[in-house]
Symmetry: C2
Subunit: 118 residues, 2 copies
């Protein structure tokens, strides 16, 4: 029980989400999981935030590091929450700020979606 | 002029769309292009249609080949149009049916988005 609790749920979901899209028809469950991630990235501002965090030195960034996406800081925070809820980012509060990084295995799982099978 | 016209516009866009997301912050223009593709895949039914077409023998399928996504044929056609408009599928009419296949370079470009740079 405590072992199951220690396992981050979203990470598991992400790892299971993404068979190569040209390998076979996705099941409804696989499609639900993967579509939720694509949907989160399907907004230009959220995609720019994701790329700012993914490319930030050390692989993490706080709202204070985000620049020039043309929306207010509360809107940035709202979009970061959406990305986190979709399992794409993880967050950790340290002092005043919440730091975001790309969730483990997201890049590899998404790359696998588009790897050409067979 | 005729040469420029011969080049499929969407294909060019897709090829230009997708620098690795962890390489640098996307420009607004790159984010617009890539987000449009992610948004099109951000629906479970569209994602299942995409995977059915991508995994179909010969790499192409018509509406007549699509099975079991739980929506009517007109709705399937509507979703396929959205995927085509996003540059993810190409289509060709042959006889009674329109055949869809994954647009050239889509799999490679999207995989590149999630390749780990550096």
């Amino acid at each position: 029980m405590s072992k199951a609790k220690a396992l981050p749920l979203m990470e598991t979901d992400v790892a299971a989400c993404c068979p190569p899209l040209d390998e076979r028809a996705l099941t409804p469950e696989e499609a639900e999981r993967a579509a939720a991630m694509f949907k989160a990235l399907g907004d230009p501002v959220r995609l720019r935030l994701f790329s700012q965090i993914a490319s930030h030195p050390g692989g993490e960034a706080c709202v204070c590091d985000i620049s020039d996406v043309g929306v207010s800081q509360p809107t940035v925070s709202h979009h970061l929450k959406k990305l986190r809820e979709a399992g794409l980012l993880t967050s950790e509060r340290r002092g005043t700020w919440v730091y975001y990084r790309v969730a483990p295995s997201v890049m590899a799982s998404m790359a696998r979606s588009f790897s050409v099978s067979g």
